[in-house]
Symmetry: C2
Subunit: 341 residues, 2 copies
DNA sequence: GTTGGCACTTGGGCATAAAGAGTGCTAACA
DNA sequence: TGTTAGCACTCTTTATGCCCAAGTGCCAAC
């Protein structure tokens, strides 16, 4: 069977309607709301066709239709209208970023908050830990007799602060020297390269071997984690949506969003160049949720991903427009702070 | 009416039973489980007395009794038996702290996780930002032309890292000098004192006025926040408890624990010297939840609070024993790392 | 002060009935 | 050939009545 233009249009109506009402949609309601020129009987036969093609299904024999995962995928890919933010919403976004934030993390925190508020879904963000980050400086200074604070900086930010242990007999000057040596050795190099540096390099550092090892370990830990803290807002928003009136489903959803590793993985798959990526359905597993995400970056380097996670029946139009709106402002904010160089 | 010993005992049985079964408890079940020597009729009249005194209530005329908030308060204050952790639970706690953590925050994170797992409730923790913290060192070093990284350290930890702007023409040496001057001025002083330092001091810093102001501002911001990030684990645990099978209640609870400021306030009221503090019921507002919390400290300084938040019908015995167990291990861990001085 | 007995209240479970929503199918029509 | 009206059929939802089990409160007797 062919997916005629009319079928597409009808499918779009079904999904639009279902997204806004959360009720299975009937042939009659389509006829009344969207296609007064076509009888419900005709629409019925089209719906039957769409069902046969796997785009729709019926909860039970005598109920309206509900979109399938395939339908949602088609919807976000080509059916969905692009909507625009209202002035009010735009204003809300802007005012959320008004208070000048200290650092990127706070900015992202604000972003996540306003996204969750405007969309009424759970919003998440996560900084990317990239192997491609380039080290700018290694700083170490003594804090206690046998403890020192290690800082590792890239062009963009402070990627690691950690207390490491140092031999008590080592002088402050020696510690500084060690840090300087490492800065010289690492500066301009990518994290990924550094951890692969040949072992013989360590020979140069014979005197400061322990410190060197600590630094290498800190970098490795950073890369291994692959991602920073997950920032999340509006975990309870899901309860505002009627399909989650069942505690079992809520439990399920909460356990999904509690699994930080899983969320991070989701956020970081194939979101390379795509502006906004929409993942409908839990892909591999049977979880029925969707993730809409976008990335933020500075001078071409991907700094992280932010997005919205919610039910399959998500208001994709709104979510996409909110993410775009926030994205634009984020972009400007990051650019501004970069120009301070 | 007098609260006789027998009434107390019966009240304890009612609460014990209700905590473990989540069902209103009847005179008959008390007779069978706890007081075979007393007839159910006698117990009934005692229950009626307890109800009259406000400790019990009936969901409806012909159902068993349910404890009131007053009853819970009395219970945790004097009725409740102290229980001990099983070897298995103790083992679980210990193994949770096995992986040596980098810093205090990670340790607390582990603590919160294991508490939530063992108790099956939502667990929270929050570092205290104390005005009484004593500054040990101020470090500043240049990151970009007009940007420097400011670090403020106390005896215990790094309390603040922040990028501040610096005049481009300032040399690295000057920046270091400014940091040194401030360290000299601030070392050994409490944060609270520092922000109250007379304005004329700033005159000494005429050359480095901007930097000085940035540092003061950073300290003020730190104190103003009063508390650090809230660490939370097991937000969804509430769903494992039968009284939250209603999505409205879940929504309510989630909104309570989403309000970070409120949680922080709760964690930091009157938990000064009390070993373990139990707050039953939302005190002022009508929210029906309880918070059981304890503090962790290093050499007498309160570093923060951790605890459990859950329904009124909470297994207080278990929660208290888990918090105590975790507390002991935390204490040792913190002491150990202090001995590294 | 304690107890057994008994009347009374209430919620939960279950079957039945009726109403409502929607579909699929068929026959007729343009 | 596509569209439409009509109708029978299915399934869910809601209401209703009914009965049972669980508990209580009270009273009279011990």
């Amino acid at each position: 069977m062919k997916l005629s233009d009319r079928k597409k249009k009808i499918l779009q109506y079904v999904i639009d309607d279902y997204i806004s009402t959360a009720q299975p949609v009937s042939s009659k309601s389509i006829n009344e709301k969207y296609l007064p020129d076509l009888s419900s009987a005709t629409i019925r036969s089209e719906l039957a066709g769409l069902e046969e093609m796997g785009y729709l299904s019926q909860p039970h024999t005598s109920s309206g239709r509900v979109p399938s995962i395939e339908a949602y995928k088609l919807y976000v890919a080509e059916l969905m209208d692009k909507s625009k933010l209202t002035g009010k919403e735009l204003g809300k976004i802007k005012s959320a970023f008004k208070d000048h934030a200290d650092n990127l993390e706070e900015v992202v925190q604000n972003a996540v908050k306003v996204i969750s508020e405007l969309t009424d879904y759970t919003s998440v963000a996560c900084a990317a830990h990239s192997e491609n980050d380039v080290i700018k400086k290694v700083e170490i200074f003594r804090h206690k007799k046998n403890q020192a604070l290690l800082l590792i900086l890239t062009e963009n930010t402070l990627i690691r602060d950690k207390f490491i242990s140092v031999p008590p007999q080592m002088t402050d000057g020696q510690i500084a020297e060690a840090a300087e040596m490492m800065t010289k050795l690492f500066v301009g190099k990518k994290l990924g390269e550094i951890v692969k540096m040949p072992d013989k390099i360590t020979e140069e550092f014979d005197t400061y071997r322990d410190i060197f090892d600590s630094v290498m370990q800190a970098i490795e830990e950073y890369i291994d984690k692959k991602k920073g803290e997950i920032i999340m807002e509006g975990q309870g928003k899901i309860l505002n949506h009627p399909e989650y009136n069942d505690t079992e489903k809520v439990k399920n959803f909460l356990s999904v969003i509690s699994d930080k590793d899983r969320i991070a993985d989701l956020l970081f798959t194939d979101s390379d160049d795509i502006e906004i990526s929409i993942k409908v359905g839990g892909e591999d597993d049977d979880a029925d949720y969707s993730l809409v995400s976008a990335t933020y970056s500075a001078s071409g380097v991907n700094l992280g991903t932010y997005g919205v996670i919610g039910p399959l029946r998500m208001d994709y139009q709104k979510v996409v427009s909110v993410l775009e709106g926030v994205g634009k402002i984020l972009e400007n904010l990051i650019k501004d702070s970069d120009e301070d160089d």
